[in-house]
């Protein structure tokens, strides 16, 4: 149940399109592929759009990417809904993506997930009411030797323990406070 998620497809601030720096990046990305094959740049550009759009892709963002690449919007929607890293629903500021596949499971990932659920008082798939944290359980992230682990933004947090989880949560809270 995504009861804590805002499902009305409206981001808090509407998608405004890319700035000059990002448009330059888009141009460079398109040039990596042969002429007429600009569709190949769709994933790298969706990554940029998602980053700018509070971690998820609303219809406006996807339509914008379609226009940049001269594609039909459906071509972007079908891609955005296929890949697990692309969110088509709002997420919290910090997304905990905890691995639950075999190698992490045998190293105690179930306990870590339960602990995070208790600590943040949300269930997997939900976002805290303050919009700060989302807990996502994910499948193998290729860090099996350093299990249990989670992805947080660009980084992997490995060898998780309850104490480490506490630290990470504290770290996010103070980072959020510093940004406000």
């Amino acid at each position: 149940m995504d009861q804590n998620n805002n499902n009305n497809e409206q981001p808090t601030t509407p998608f405004r399109g890319f700035g000059g720096e990002q448009l330059k990046q888009v141009d460079e990305l398109i040039k990596r592929y042969p002429q007429g094959k600009q569709k190949s740049a769709i994933l790298p550009i969706l990554h940029i759009a998602q980053q700018q759009n509070a971690g998820w892709l609303d219809v406006a963002a996807m339509d914008y990417v379609a226009s940049l690449l001269h594609l039909q919007p459906i071509e972007v929607y079908e891609v955005a809904t296929f890949y697990s890293m692309l969110n088509t629903k709002p997420v919290g500021k910090y997304v905990f993506e905890v691995c639950q596949t075999g190698p992490c499971m045998i190293n105690g990932s179930d306990d870590i997930i339960e602990y995070i659920e208790k600590k943040l008082t949300i269930k997997r798939g939900q976002t805290t009411p303050d919009g700060l944290f989302t807990l996502k359980v994910v499948e193998c992230l290729g860090a099996c030797g350093y299990a249990p682990m989670m992805q947080l933004g660009k980084t992997y947090r490995e060898h998780l323990t309850k104490e480490k989880v506490d630290q990470i949560i504290e770290e996010c809270i103070s980072k959020a406070a510093a940004n406000n």
Partner: protein
């Protein structure tokens, strides 16, 4: 001590930088390759006996020689860095800690195959690793190893990192190409094979990260020298990413002449089972290969010592053997539950099925449900047979090998651990409180008639 070809320099301080990597002998294979005829490089790779390190173990030289070369049509080399097979984290290790080895391999291999523009398709989650590769590519470009007229050879070459966005299926080479073309990662029907019709319809070779890295020592020392390392058709070295209940999880380079027992118990490798526990089972080559109980893992059914190489790990076929696969070595101790472990793998394949073929799309979800039922103490005896039946109907009936990859772990778990499944059914309450334990899995093999 195994000979190291890929990881020998990984601990040199600063090896991530072009300067140190070059000083340590890096990029020599590019200098050498550019002096050679492209076809001669392909011949060296054939001679080396190198087999694809992504999991299938197909001879790389042969794959290269299949590449069609129609006049006036671009050819592509794409590196498969979409490492996603549970238990496997060796490619990340190479890319993160010695990125120039992959870049060097890509330049030399691209020259051999005639690819002027090549791509490294990396799984989206390895975001920071993609940055490391981008930086290494920039350095290589600044030093004249990427760009126009490399080292005055007339070879013009560009290399790009392309980040995926979370989809195990994109590790399947045709799904990877679809994804690189900006589409959903749906595997293609083969033939045509990528060697004839691959990226944007052009002839394409897709190789795993470790495979491309292995081309560097092959060019430097010659295919024959490489083929002399290892044993039989398991030539060269192989990276094994070891995880699970062991003292020293990590990435190890082996020359395929050591035994499984040595690999697990020696301090040079896994360092034994963690917390003084006993070995129960192991998935030796990534989650999709058959799980083996301790007794079949350390010795083959014929009673021979099982070795860490392609042939020995596969000895006995799927009845009593397993596979080298991707080298994702998952060790389970006596406290682990095979039913639960199989459930997490079934759930993984259900989550990752692309949904094109009904046997896989429906079957993986069905297996997950039945396993969940047994794991939670609600199973019936007929569910075990049902599971067997479902996996059998998936295997071989799908466009790509994901169906097989989902079926095999379930089949092997039932084949070798049927009594543990039955115990769950017969002890619905107890199975929620404790695990089945080591049982007889570590005992010496007793011939028990015909195995399924």
């Amino acid at each position: 001590m195994s000979k190291k070809l890929l990881l020998d320099k990984i601990n040199v301080p600063g090896i991530k930088s072009f300067e140190v990597y070059r000083r340590e002998g890096g990029y020599k294979s590019v200098e050498k390759a550019l002096q050679m005829q492209p076809n001669d490089i392909v011949e060296e790779v054939k001679k080396s006996g190198l087999r694809g390190r992504g999991g299938a173990g197909f001879p790389t030289g042969m794959k290269w020689s299949f590449l069609a070369k129609p006049e006036g049509v671009a050819r592509y080399l794409v590196c498969n860095a979409d490492e996603s097979e549970p238990g496997t984290f060796k490619d990340r290790y190479l890319m993160e800690f010695i990125p120039h080895l992959l870049i060097e391999g890509m330049i030399a291999s691209s020259f051999a195959l005639g690819s002027d523009v090549s791509y490294i398709y990396i799984r989206g989650e390895y975001d920071w690793v993609a940055d490391i590769l981008d930086e290494a590519i920039d350095e290589a470009r600044k030093n004249g190893f990427i760009g126009n007229n490399i080292l005055g050879s007339g070879f013009n070459f560009e290399l790009y990192v392309h980040r995926g966005a979370g989809a195990y299926i994109c590790g399947e080479e045709t799904a990877l190409l679809e994804s690189l073309e900006g589409k959903r990662g749906l595997p293609r029907i083969k033939p045509p094979f990528p060697a004839v019709k691959g990226l944007w319809g052009c002839p394409t070779v897709v190789n795993n990260v470790e495979t491309i890295c292995a081309v560097v020592p092959i060019i430097n020392d010659g295919g024959e020298a490489y083929s002399k390392i290892g044993i039989g058709r398991s030539t060269g070295t192989k990276l094994i990413s070891a995880c699970g209940n062991i003292n020293k999880p990590g990435v190890y380079e082996i020359d395929m002449t050591i035994s499984v027992e040595e690999f697990i118990y020696s301090d040079e490798y896994c360092g034994g089972i963690a917390n003084g526990k006993k070995l129960k089972a192991c998935i030796p080559g990534g989650s999709s290969v058959p799980i083996l109980p301790a007794n079949l893992l350390l010795k083959t059914a014929k009673g021979e010592t099982r070795m860490m190489n392609y042939e020995s790990l596969a000895d006995g076929g799927f009845v009593t053997g397993s596979m080298m696969g991707s080298g994702g070595f998952i060790v389970l101790d006596e406290d682990q539950c095979v039913v639960k472990n199989t459930l997490t793998l079934a759930r993984f394949y259900h989550h990752e099925s692309c949904g094109q073929c009904s046997p896989c799309r429906e079957g993986t979800g069905w297996m997950e449900k039945v396993l969940n039922k047994i794991d939670s103490g609600k199973g019936e005896m007929k569910d075990i047979d049902l599971l067997w039946d479902i996996q059998r109907r998936i295997e071989g009936n799908t466009i790509c090998p994901l169906g097989d990859a989902a079926a095999w772990p379930v089949a092997a778990a039932i084949r070798h651990f049927r009594d543990e499944f039955e115990w769950h059914v017969l002890n619905p309450e107890e199975c929620l409180k404790r695990n089945y334990g080591l049982a007889h899995y570590a005992e010496p093999l007793i011939p028990k008639g015909e195995l399924v």
